[in-house]
């Protein structure tokens, strides 16, 4: 029964799921919850649930339990959505669970950061099945082999919580967790309009996504889904620009896998300079317009 089920909540998660499943080294199937097309990246079978949206965890999980019974490993990309659903699934299956895996030693041994990244734990799973959420940065996506052959299946939804309303913020910019460039701002960004103009403006010029610290989100300068860090989103872009961010362990826990970290801070002793590849001691309100002008000149 050494077989993996990749749960992809939308088509964009299929490739990274296949990357993790390939690293796990077992044959795998994919279950696509929403959307109606998937690339084949080595899956034996691809099941298509064809739902319009991802239902609340309590109403979706029982149908996943039935399907998951045939697998030793059930895995999904880390996100707030997958943490909500996969941990409930693990509870229902009485499974072992590994949250935020960053490396695989074997199908029973994983590495994951704990204590806001202060340590990397080597975790052994003692029982089967095993539920894993993983950070995609460590697992290269396998080559696409054309369109997958989709096998429709029906997920019977159970009675559970009722979704009364939903609001999506932002939009238009690349997804924070996938973006090649992320520009983030912290507490000194005054208000939402300033944040959008200064941080959003530079992000747009670089074709990047926007992130924020908890301090910026809590004070209403940025919206909640932009929070990067231990308890927010984990990012791993080629370029991370942190403007007006002190460099708390909680924030740094979310950006450690970035290739190049740039810090702009007017306090030369700000902790973020210990982590930044390139540090600029400057007022961000002077530095960011100057960077934008220099980028324009370079074209």
């Amino acid at each position: 029964m050494a077989k993996t089920l990749v749960i992809a909540f939308d088509p964009a998660e299929v490739a990274s799921g296949a990357g993790f499943a390939t690293a796990l080294g077992q044959p795998f199937d994919v279950l696509l919850i929403t959307g109606n097309a998937a690339n084949n990246a080595g899956a034996e079978r691809t099941f298509l649930a064809g739902l319009d949206s991802v239902p609340p965890a309590d109403s979706l999980t029982p149908s996943l339990v039935a399907l998951a019974r045939g697998y030793s490993h059930i895995v999904a990309v880390s996100s707030m959505r997958s943490k909500d659903i996969m941990a409930r699934l693990a509870g229902a299956l009485d499974a072992a669970m590994v949250t935020d895996a960053i490396a695989i030693e074997s199908p029973t041994v994983y590495k994951r950061p704990i204590v806001a990244g202060a340590a990397i734990a080597t975790v052994e799973t003692l029982t089967e099945p095993v539920v894993v959420t993983f950070r995609p940065a460590g697992f290269p996506e396998p080559a696409q082999q054309g369109e997958a052959t989709l096998e429709p299946i029906t997920l019977e939804l159970s009675q559970g919580s009722k979704r009364i309303s939903e609001s999506m913020h932002g939009g238009g910019r690349p997804d924070l967790t996938q973006a090649r460039v992320v520009v983030s701002g912290g507490r000194p960004l005054k208000d939402a309009a300033t944040f959008e103009k200064v941080i959003g403006g530079l992000a747009d010029q670089l074709g990047g996504a926007v992130g924020a610290t908890r301090a910026a989100v809590d004070s209403g300068i940025a919206s909640n889904e932009l929070q990067v860090g231990q308890t927010g989103k984990i990012v791993a872009p080629d370029l991370y620009i942190a403007a007006g961010i002190s460099g708390s362990t909680q924030h740094m826990a979310g950006i450690k896998d970035s290739k190049t970290i740039v810090a702009i801070n007017n306090d030369p002793s700000a902790p973020i300079f210990e982590f930044a590849d390139l540090g600029l001691v400057a007022d961000l309100y002077d530095a960011i317009p100057a960077i934008r002008a220099a980028l324009d000149r370079g074209k």
Partner: protein, 245 residues
Amino acid sequence: MKILVPVKRVLDPFAKVRPLPDGSGMDTAGVKFEMNPFDEIAIEEAVRQRDQHPEIEIVAVSIGLPEAEDQLRKALAMGADKAILIESTETFDPPSIADELAALARAEQPDIILMGKQATDDDSNQVGQMLAAKLGWPQATFASKIVIVAGSVQVTRETDTGDEVLECALPAVVTVDLRLNEPRYIALPGIIKARSKPLDRRAPTTSPRPRTRVRRLDPPPARAPGRKVASVDELVGALRERGAI
């Protein structure tokens, strides 16, 4: 109406900590222990809900070492009515914590289990959802607003793209996120005063059945040291050189 709030004793989230050289655990020498910050938000919320619904009884529970009494006293000082300390020196992984909390919930019959979304030491984000599954109760995770209405709870929850409102029939499990509230500050005298509130010590009713085991802890890989640049032009030049822009 009863609200059960599980609280965990964790390493001070603001302390600089590192693994022991032999990798057997974290070096806790000289580090304080605190209530998991998300659980503090959960206690605060329970107290604010009771301000609106005076019939609410708040029970705080912690599973672990006898020292977790400190965190339960703090919960009592913040306004919890009573506390239960389930004492054990054994290692409970998140599924085992969920098993023990499920047993307690069956005995205590709370209407809402209100708890942190994540413990800042193990960063698992598992117990609430596992507990809800084991009890077969509805769940709403990552709450930023909670409204109790007759027989149900309306929870605004943070999502990957914004937020949504779920309505859960009671009993339900709700896990809290950072934006729900700002916990009140409790000075030491308040904590001492809470000594007169009931704290019930008991042994676990389940024996932990660990489904995972931490083999070792290592320090995170060090990043190559960076450098300061003197000007915006030098910064942009360096980024071009690295191919970052």
